[in-house]
Symmetry: C2
Subunit: 418 residues, 2 copies
């Protein structure tokens, strides 16, 4: 529906946060010119061959054979419990020790973030986010009326000096401190940056000092194919201030739409109240069997190889094709690279041209919040609002297509700058 | 976690609606004494033999064979579209003509109601509900800070005279009119009452006159095994004021956790923004195949027989066992009966005794909102707050167990009154 057509007769019945967003696209990150023949570097989709189809099919068979009457009923049966056990066991491998009362399984990590928003945020509450950050998470927080303020990040993740300065400035000015900091600590979306251990510890100190909670969205943490991971924020925290989000969207499949929250049980209790609507016990049972049958870890190992090959292909192509003055991050895991093109490029404006040349991406500007607190992403080589930047995903297409896509990006850049 | 143990150090960080609910059980309808040997007449569960296991298993096979890479990816593929088509075709059979832009598939009807709450309700907004109404829907509306006011209902559903009087009184007193009326028009939960056609038309006139929206939760409408159904509210409405909720939880299985909203596209657009987190494309694809393969209608026919047999068994048992002074509704579909026991019974207080005798149920009081607007459910034979009443479900257990459960209810009542 075009904006001018929009039916207005019910506008006065919407909630305030919805009314404020009418006629404003808000954080709608996905719009892209239709370009069916272009290589889609736009989305954080797993590559299709990564899906463990046979294992999922077997799991469906088993759970329907063994406990169909529970699998299909409200609440589920034994295999739902095994999913809980599987997640907890896996989190323990990640260094996060949690009990059943500290876990809530959700309909994906975004549903988890939505429930967290409902639990903690009154309209107008302050939330800090990385600048740039994942646009759909910004949209969810915006749905709850949050005032979003960006905090600088560089290749080592969120800058704790910038965070501390912002908090000090707020405190000195008598402004409210944030309730939440939303961070994607590992292989950040959109930049691929990973927060160092030292910085994680400083973020936790600041959370304690300034009395806020840290929502750590660890969608990509397990997808490290090179080097050593710093411990998850939840593993470093002893104050109960970390709310950890996990998901199987990147390690099993997005279509099974299952995520979880690990947090202090006093928080889980209230988030559980607000995460209305129950969960899909059919899917949860299938995943419970999947964990129980030992598929998770071996599948993950195969993924690491697939993603490393793709990242290497993309970096190789970037090195060979992009014009001087371009730079990019080189993550050791995850799905995304953050590219900064030469001065003079406006990545949003260039997108239709790029689509014609044969590639689509997400312009960097879309990942920034519109606020005064942000210091600019100078450390990522841009001018501070992402104009020259873009996110490309190496997760989705084949190495050959990655090469084609990057070549098209280079052609578009050169044509644009002519 | 017991109330006194509850960790309080994070309480100040919760949203206002959550803080207000701390230490208050709120609309937590489900608590029941542990009674593993008692016949559970408590929950609105379908009977386990009703689940179309073989058809779902086939559907899984087909969608994984034909389009696994889409089924498991963000967004899904062809079968997700076929689910949309199947729902729309089925709604047309119900008399509700809607387009793709007027449909939103959700993670169940409760998720749908939650998204509606997020879209329309600011804390403190007025919402009218039937008195009594489904306790978990009350809980979801309460999560959004709604002020709930009950409107009387009798065996013919919501009383439009009571509704009109309430609206007039509010208007005269300069009080805000409600934004939403939440109704379960057919085989209402908890009473089994069905709103007559004439009353449906009057409710719609009042919605137009007083400028509110009608959320019509039609979870049970298709489960009529006797008589003729009045048209759905959405089929009678030409003002765009009806938001219709559907679900496959009662007609396929709760475990697949899929529902939908049919409403004016201007409303669907905003509800879609607020229904954050995406949907389960794996499950949706399986259900798309299930509809596409023609399983829906024949399965439904089998269910009608199963539920009619159970209702008959329950009514027969009530007639034979319950002491004089008892009464009950006799719905021609759905899952529930509303029983009013003789004067002197407190159904909440009697529950542990009933559990000992061998039956559990949901006390009537739990379905009432705590407000001044409610006129009392005098027409249902109670004293107005549901003390003597209870909801029992004939959907879940076998006819033999229904008989046992009702006999235990009669024994408990007689023992209680001694």
């Amino acid at each position: 529906m075009s904006e001018s057509d929009r039916e207005r007769r019910f506008d006065h019945l919407f909630a305030t946060t919805v009314r404020e967003r009418l006629d404003d696209a808000g954080y709608a990150g996905g719009a892209s010119p239709p370009a069916p023949d272009a290589v889609p570097l736009t989305y954080g989709f797993p590559y299709p061959e990564s899906f463990p189809v046979a294992a999922l099919r077997d799991a469906v068979e088993t759970v329907l054979d063994e406990e169909a009457a529970d699998v299909l009923q409200y609440g589920g049966g034994e295999y739902v419990e095994r999913l809980n056990d599987g997640i907890l066991a896996h989190e323990a491998v990640n260094g996060v020790d949690a009990t059943r009362d500290e876990l809530l399984v959700t309909n994906g990590a975004t549903h988890a973030l939505d429930a967290i928003g409902a639990t903690f945020l009154d309209p107008g509450d302050e939330v800090l986010v990385e600048s740039p950050s994942f646009v759909w998470s910004l949209a969810v927080l915006d749905n709850h009326g949050a005032e979003l303020t960006g905090v600088d990040l560089d290749e080592n993740g969120l800058d704790p000096d910038a965070l501390e300065e912002l908090l000090e400035r707020r405190e000195a000015a008598g402004q409210p401190v944030p309730k939440l900091l939303y961070t994607i600590p590992s292989f950040q979306n959109p930049t691929g940056a990973t927060l160092t251990r030292e910085r994680r510890e400083r973020v936790l100190e600041l959370a304690q000092q300034y009395d806020f909670l840290v929502v750590a969205d660890d969608a990509y943490g397990e997808l490290r194919f090179e080097g050593e991971s710093p411990p998850p924020l939840a593993a470093l925290d002893d104050s109960g201030r970390v709310i950890r989000l996990g998901t199987v969207s990147k390690t099993i499949a997005p279509g099974v739409r299952t995520g979880w929250i690990v947090a202090h049980e006093a928080l889980i209790e209230q988030i559980g109240h607000m995460a209305a609507g129950g969960t899909n016990t059919f899917t949860q049972s299938v995943l419970g069997r999947y964990f129980d049958a030992g598929h998770y870890e071996p599948t993950l190992e195969g993924l690491l190889e697939g993603y490393e090959t793709r990242r290497d292909a993309m970096i190789d192509a970037l090195e060979r094709h992009l014009p001087p003055g371009s730079s990019w991050t080189e993550p050791k895991g995850g799905f995304f690279l953050w590219v900064t093109l030469p001065e003079g490029v406006d990545a949003e404006e260039m997108l239709p041209l790029a689509a014609e040349e044969g590639v689509t991406y997400l312009p960097g500007e879309r990942f920034y919040v519109d606020d005064g607190g942000r210091q600019g992403a100078a450390d990522l080589g841009d001018d501070g609002v992402g104009t020259r930047s873009l996110r490309i995903s190496f997760s989705h297409v084949s190495p050959e297509e990655l090469e084609e896509g990057v070549a098209a990006l280079a052609r578009a850049t050169e044509a644009y700058l002519e």
